[in-house]
């Protein structure tokens, strides 16, 4: 598994998948022996509505190059409206990320049902390629450098 620290850049994508739909789709993709980009680290959550925006920011802050959130299709939420809550938060979160200089393609929300292993494969592959094209996120705080302003003391 490429770790992104050695060799060519491999995007690190943290994926939050809902227990009832998208996680089952990834399970189905696995049992169906589908091949797709190995760059996602999947975190299973009970519902996409459980994905606190803090989780997304924390993932970016700790080195993720992208964050993928997968939930049930609108109307299909196991808890009735968790995915709608995610949808509302996602909209505002994306605007916040844009202000913070994080590109649109680095954070993505997909509705993928338990039967849609092919959609999961396509979404992951597409996201990995887009993030690969963007390059590493590099959120580190730059070191303060003042050299250009130094004037020798006379």
């Amino acid at each position: 598994m490429p770790d992104g620290n050695h060799g060519p850049f491999e995007p690190r994508i943290v994926a939050f998948f809902c227990n009832w739909c998208t996680y089952l789709a990834s399970d189905l993709a696995g049992t169906s022996r589908m091949k797709y980009a190995p760059n996602t680290r999947v975190v299973r959550v009970m519902c996409s509505g459980r994905v606190d925006p803090q989780f997304v920011l924390d993932a970016f802050a700790r080195g993720a190059d992208g964050v993928l959130i997968g939930g049930c299709h609108p109307g299909d939420c196991h808890y009735q409206e968790g995915n709608y809550k995610m949808l509302r938060r996602f909209h505002l979160l994306k605007r916040l990320l844009a202000q913070m200089g994080i590109e649109d393609e680095r954070c993505r929300l997909e509705w993928i049902s338990a039967a849609e292993a092919d959609k999961l494969k396509a979404a992951v592959n597409d996201m990995v390629e887009k993030v690969r094209a963007l390059g590493p996120l590099h959120l580190a705080i730059p070191k303060e450098e003042f050299a250009e302003e130094e004037v020798a003391v006379s």
């Binding site: 606190d52 925006p53 803090q54 997304v56 920011l57 924390d58 970016f60 802050a61 609108p74 409206e81 709608y84 809550k85 949808l87 509302r88 938060r89 909209h91 505002l92 979160l93 605007r95 916040l96 202000q99 913070m100 200089g101 994080i102 590493p136 996120l137 590099h138 959120l139 705080i141 730059p142 303060e144 003042f146 302003e149 130094e150 004037v151 003391v153 006379s154």
Partner: protein, 322 residues
């Protein structure tokens, strides 16, 4: 018996925190009776060399307000840390980065360009900028340099306690002084204010609907604000649910929504993300376009949700391209 020594210092802040000390009014006499103020540049004529001459750990407590964004402030933070037994981050700027922390949406170069060149009220035909060294008539003056990234106090030195607020209320300052004098302090790292959300102590608490859903967000100047009713229920972005209490709802009592200066409670890591989450989930729509429309009236998400806390947030600053 010698009295415990106390210092106050001011870094990147507006001066409001100093005002809190003055706002102790007559009670400042009790404070002065109990402690010796050995360093307080805003009011007393002590210099940096006086602090340097003090033995290490000889100051019982130092209340340091302001964020750290210049080389001088960083040096003073280290100096005061060395001389003080207890260092308190006093106010939002020292604790969370504060309003100056919003400069983390820019970098030093863009800040200087705006302030010294672009700003419409400026007349600076020669494009003069502050430089580290200035020589005139054989005299040489060294100026501190501005950082790219505004830092909280605890990103620079070890901090023992935090007193929240923009500015902290005199009551909180007095309680902190009493706790220090009485030696009954909470564990290191504690915020010296109650650990509940502001809504808990809000006088409008009972007017908040059980199930709150909103179809419109308003900014204070766009609304005729009812003086009794929960501000969130009126569509105003009141940060109460995501903000620590302890201010006794001062702004709400003035009929203005909370802007979040007391920062998060101990259970929240990133108060901006939490507030964003809370407000977005209140949108009464399941339609993507409609949701975008309703949330569109939140003009500046970072400035709204991280008004006082950008440097202490998970992302800390706007990304700088490598």
């Amino acid at each position: 018996m010698t009295k415990p020594k106390v210092a106050f210092y001011w870094c990147a802040a507006c001066g409001g925190c100093e005002e809190t000390v003055v706002d102790l009014a007559e009670q400042i006499l009790d404070v002065v009776a109990a402690v010796d103020i050995v360093f307080w540049p805003v009011a007393l004529d002590f210099k940096r060399k006086d602090v340097e001459a003090m033995p290490d750990k000889s100051i019982a407590a130092c209340f340091l307000n302001g964020a750290i964004r210049t080389t001088e402030q960083e040096e003073m933070a280290h100096l005061l840390r060395r001389k003080s037994q207890t260092l308190l981050a006093f106010g939002s700027c020292a604790q969370l980065g504060g309003i100056p922390g919003l400069a983390n949406l820019w970098q030093r170069e863009s800040v200087l360009e705006r302030v010294y060149q672009e700003c419409p009220s400026n007349v600076n035909l020669d494009g003069v900028r502050p430089s580290r060294q200035y020589r005139d008539n054989g005299h040489s003056v060294t100026l501190p340099t501005l950082f790219d990234t505004v830092l909280t106090l605890d990103q620079v030195v070890d901090v023992d306690y935090y007193v929240p607020g923009c500015p902290p209320t005199p009551k909180l300052l007095l309680e902190a002084v009493q706790a220090l004098l009485g030696g009954n302090l909470p564990p290191k790292g504690a915020v010296l204010a109650p650990d509940h959300a502001l809504c808990e102590e809000c006088p409008r608490k009972d007017t908040r609907p059980d199930k709150l859903m909103l179809t419109e967000f308003k900014r204070p100047h766009e609304a005729l604000i009812d003086e009794e009713k929960c501000l969130m229920a009126q569509g105003l972005l009141c940060m109460g649910p995501a903000t620590r209490g302890g201010c006794e709802a001062l702004c709400v009592k003035g009929n203005m929504p909370c802007t979040g200066c007391f920062g998060p409670t101990s259970r929240v890591k990133d108060s901006g993300a939490k507030a964003l989450s809370a407000f977005a989930s209140l949108v009464n729509s399941n339609d993507e376009k409609e949701i975008a429309g309703i949330l569109g009236n939140i003009a500046d998400p970072v400035g709204t949700f991280y008004r006082y806390s950008l440097p202490s947030s998970l992302l800390r600053r706007k990304r700088v391209e490598a």
